[in-house]
């Protein structure tokens, strides 16, 4: 029963993983909305900037981004704490993928809804906030759920910039004990348990959003 002794250390790592993941999801979601809305509603300059951000962060390796922010950026005098770096890079990653989700969901709201809003003389901002976004939000939720779980799993990469997350702790214990099977099995279980919780939370949010008569099963009339 040697593995019981790993638990306190792994639990501490899991807390760090949870904190980094949740912070990255929260900040990333904000970035996703800003960039996604900028893509759809922004003028040429704003939407091009948003597009550049999205493609830059979707098109490069997350691990290299982490190294770049952690090792390269300080060379030009900008440096953050490791945890802050981890959160920042993961958030930028979530924001880039999330902006595509936001953009796609906004585009999927029928053009007739926008025309109805225009016929009622809604301004662009009101149309976005009161007509298209509320309908798009429902469409976004499943994809955001996937992204949240993806982020949890990707967060293990931050162990490589010396953050003591779940993966980092597992490595340390394994190096001491050489009990690869025990340590990594426990680590997998840890990630799985956390993603299960995330999944359940997302399901709950989706259920709450679809509650009531506004969006019945067979939506889209």
């Amino acid at each position: 029963m040697q593995w019981v002794s790993y638990l306190p250390s792994l639990a501490q790592g899991a807390l760090v993983t949870a904190w980094i993941t949740l912070a990255a999801i929260a900040i990333g979601a904000l970035l996703a909305f800003v960039a996604g809305i900028a893509r759809v509603e922004g003028g040429r300059i704003v939407s091009t900037l948003a597009l550049c951000y999205t493609e830059l962060f979707r098109g490069t390796s997350l691990l290299v981004q982490l190294f770049w922010f952690y090792y390269a950026l300080p060379l030009i005098g900008i440096s953050f704490e490791p945890v802050a770096t981890g959160i920042l890079v993961l958030a930028l990653h979530v924001g880039a993928y999330g902006s595509e989700i936001v953009r796609g969901a906004l585009a999927s709201v029928s053009v007739q809804q926008v025309e109805a809003a225009r016929a009622l003389n809604f301004g662009r901002w009101h149309t976005l906030v009161h007509v298209t976004l509320p309908q798009a939000l429902i469409e976004m939720l499943p994809a955001f759920g996937n992204l949240a779980i993806e982020t949890l799993k990707l967060s293990s990469l931050v162990s490589l910039i010396s953050i003591a997350d779940l993966t980092f702790r597992a490595q340390s214990i394994r190096n001491l004990t050489l009990d690869s099977a025990g340590v990594y099995t426990l680590t997998l279980v840890g990630y799985f348990a956390m993603s299960l919780v995330l999944m359940m939370v997302m399901r709950l949010i989706e259920r709450l959003a679809r509650r009531g008569a506004a969006f019945p099963r067979a939506a889209h009339s």
Partner: protein, 259 residues
Amino acid sequence: MTDNVKPPLIQFAGVTKRFGALTVLDNFNFEVAPGEKVTLIGPSGSGKSTVLRILMTLEPFQEGRLTLAGMDYHEPGAAAPFRASERHLRNIRSHVGMVFQSFNLFPHMSVIRNVAEAPVRVLGLSRDEAQARAVDLLALVGLADKKDHFPSQLSGGQQQRVAIARALAMRPRVLLFDEPTSALDPQLVGEVLAVIRDLAHEHDLTMLLVTHEMRFAREVSDRVCFFDKGQICEQGSPEAIFTAPSHPRTCEFLASVLG
């Protein structure tokens, strides 16, 4: 029609509208007097709906001049496609309302919010005022008891009646109906037409109606315009058009729809 005593409220002068290579309206001329009820009939693709969509500023047009209550749709120096600033377009829209073929209610809002939302957000009414106005209008269309339902819980006919109340809540001078009963099951058409018929008695409201309901067109309109290939091919009083059409295309069309 009160022969040119009042200046026209709506005036199309040589308006040309193209979708790419397709010319939908070709040097189109058309006037509507204040308070007039005009029905546009004709084969599909003849440009009837486009006239309404241009009036609602949902479609730009390329050539000619369009005015509403003396306001020019195009602003000098403004950029394509609409050749008008957003502010100018919103000023025009404040006079016009539209009822769509597919209702286009907001699915995430209750019936009363569908009606009250624009008066609050656009006209700046207080929630209470807007709700009171909405309740009155829902009563007018016979749906006061459905105010807390969601659109998905209503029949098509009920949804369209809510859409009419929603358009009226903005107090437009011109109300456009774009085939308001075409998406409805036959047994639901009557309730919507009854509401529109009541509105047609409103003296001040100018109505433009695109419809395939010929009997109804005959009942409610002051003037019927027959469209063909982006032009008004023949127009006149409902009696004249339906009993003694003179243009061969009109005769052909009426024969086909009246069976």
